[in-house]
Amino acid sequence: MNWLELLEKGFWGGCAAVGFAVLFNVPARALWTVFFLGLVGCLAKFSLIGFEVHVVIAAFVGASLVGVFSIRAAHKKHAPPLIFAIPSVIPLVPGIFAYKTMLGIISLTDKVGDNYNQVLAETINNGTKATFIVMALAVGVAIPNLITRKESAKEIDSPLPKMRRLSSKSLKRMIHK
C-alpha cells in the first residue's frame, strides 16, 4: 500500500468521525480534534493491515491510539475524553463485515443446497470478525482508564510530551547556552 493512498484513507476516516461528532452534537470547538483522532485511528488501522497484521489487532491498536490521544485532548479542551473518543472510533467499525454477515444470514434461510456449508462458513467468519472488532474498539477506547486505574481523565498524566513548553522555554535556554 502506498503512502498517498493511506493518507487519503486517513482523511476519509477523519471526515466520517466529524460526521458522527455532528450527529452526537459534540461542541464545535472539539470538531478539529475529532477529525485528527479519526485520522490517526484510520492511519494506524490501515497501515497495520498493509503490513498484514490481523484486522482485529489492527482495529485494537487504532482504537487504543485514539483512547490515549483522547486523554490529551480532554486535558487541552477541558471536556470528558469520551466525546472525542467515541466519534473517532466509529470509522473503525467493520461495516462491510457486518453487511456480509447479514447477507449470509439471509441466504442461510434458503433451502439447504450445494454451497450451504460454504455460505455458513463465510457467514460465521464475517460475523465473528465483526463482533471481535467491535469488542476490540471498546477495549481500546477504555485502555487509558484501565491501565492507570483512574476514574477521571483529569487525574491521568498525559502520556504525550508537551510540545509547547519545549518550544518556548527550553529553546531560549538552548540558545543562551
Partner: protein, 284 residues
Amino acid sequence: MLYNIYFTSKKRRIYDISVTLQRLNKTTMKLQSKDEIGDLGKVLLEIGTLLMSNGASTARIRMTVDRIADSFGYHADMLITHRALTLALRDSDENQVYNNLKRTSPHGVNFKLVSGISRMSWKIVQQDWTITQINNDLKRLQALPHYPRIIVLSFVSLAGASFCRLAGGNAIEMLIAFIATFGGLFARQEILKKKFNPYIAVLVGATVSALMSGSFSIIGPDFPFEHGFATSVLYLIPGIPLIHSFTDLIEGNTLNGILRWAHGLMIAFMIALGLSISIYLYHI
C-alpha cells in the same frame, strides 16, 4: 532528618487547620441543611438522568454525582438503571436523609450537554457554587442549540460517503452512499419528531436508505453500487450503546452493560431488517 520533622509538623498544622475548617463548615451547614438536602437531591437526580439520557456511561454518572455531593459534604448512594434513577442522600451524621426516584427522559445523544455537565461539576468543586447557580447553569446547558438540521444532514451524509470510501468504494458509490444517507436520516428525523418508537425510527431510516441505494441496482448488472448499498445504513450503527455496554461490563455494572448490549442489538436487528427488505425487493 531535621527537615523531615519540620516537614511533617508543617503538614500536621495544615491538616489541623483543614479539620477545624471542615468542622466549622459542618456547623454552618446544619443550620441551612433542611432545605438544602432536598434541593441538592433534586439537582443531583436531574443531573444523573440528564447524563443517562444523553449518552454517558454508568461509571461517569456515579462519578459526577458523587463529586458534586461530596463538595456539599453529603454522601450519595445510587441505583442507576436505563429508565430510572434512585438516589439516597445523607449527611455524615445521618441526621438528614433525602431519598427519591426520577424517571429518565427518552434517550438521545447530546455530547454538548455531557461535556457541559462535566465542566460544571469541576467548577462546583473548585469555586464552591450554590445550588441556584447549578440550577441556572443546567438550564443554560439544556437550552444550548443543536447544530442546524441541514448541517447535521450534510455532515452525516459526508460520513456515509467516507465510510463507503474506507470500505473500498469508488466515486459513484460514494455519491450513492451520500444520497441514501441523506434521505434515510431525513426520514428518521421526521419519524422521531412524530414521537414514534425509537426502534421503528431506526427501521424506517434503514429501509429508506437501503431502498434509495438499492434502487441503483436497476440501472444494470454491472453498475457499481454494492459498497454504497452496504455503507448507506452505517450512520445508524449503535456505536455508543455497544461501546458503553463494554465499559459498563468491565467496570462491574453488569446489569447496565447487558441492558445496553440488548439495546444495541435491537438497533442492529432493525438495520438488518431494513436492509433485508430492500434485498428481497430488488433481488440483490
